[in-house]
Symmetry: C2
Subunit: 142 residues, 2 copies
Amino acid sequence: MADTKHYLHQYETEAINNDGVNGVAYVPNGLAVAVSHPLKDAPGTNPEQLLGLSLSTCMSATLEAIEKENGLPHLAEVHVHVSMVKGTDGLEFLVTACVHIPHISHALAVDFVQQAERRCPVSKLLSKSDNYTVEVVAGFDQ
Amino acid sequence: MADTKHYLHQYETEAINNDGVNGVAYVPNGLAVAVSHPLKDAPGTNPEQLLGLSLSTCMSATLEAIEKENGLPHLAEVHVHVSMVKGTDGLEFLVTACVHIPHISHALAVDFVQQAERRCPVSKLLSKSDNYTVEVVAGFDQ
């Protein structure tokens, strides 16, 4: 497979963690975040939240592109839920991207979200996992 | 498949992006990050970096657990490279986790990293993607 793919390289970045889940993760010359265990009451973010921030941003940007192609302003709102669960195969994350697009029909929202699911690079990376779901929702609480 | 799985629920979080790649992504009552397009010279992080921070932290924490099980201190260093490329199927991310574990044999490092690849929840989510690779390296530059 690999030798049949021809890519135009556009951007590269790096993230480093030497501390595990208690310490700091950082991008050289970029963002540094304190990380902590999700089940401990210590300040800091964690892999679940960082994955949710990545996917929600990527899906929102992809939906913005689709909205623009359809002559619409960016209205889509993306909330990503990440759960950590323990099953027979150890720890797993369950990831659900919930999308609300106000002021358009449900059918059009479903069409846009299905396009975004196939185009968003983070969504593509997750798409073969049984633990990844994308939903169109009528709205969010509050 | 789904109805045969029984999970012990341990933790849940949420991340929100309403802005696309120019604005803010946030966790309610938690981390908020400015985001910007990776090809534009604006301050902010992006989905590539956030994914790298998530994976590097999760792999590092998993390796720490494996090191502890083997009576070792946490020595593993995890650098995640994320590239954005454009191919015939549109934009894609290529993700490579490079792991260096000093002071142990290469064979033992490979064993630990193979275990971590199968146990780390973020690695599990990416494991069916052709764009995800894990490497054991002899060291990092600088």
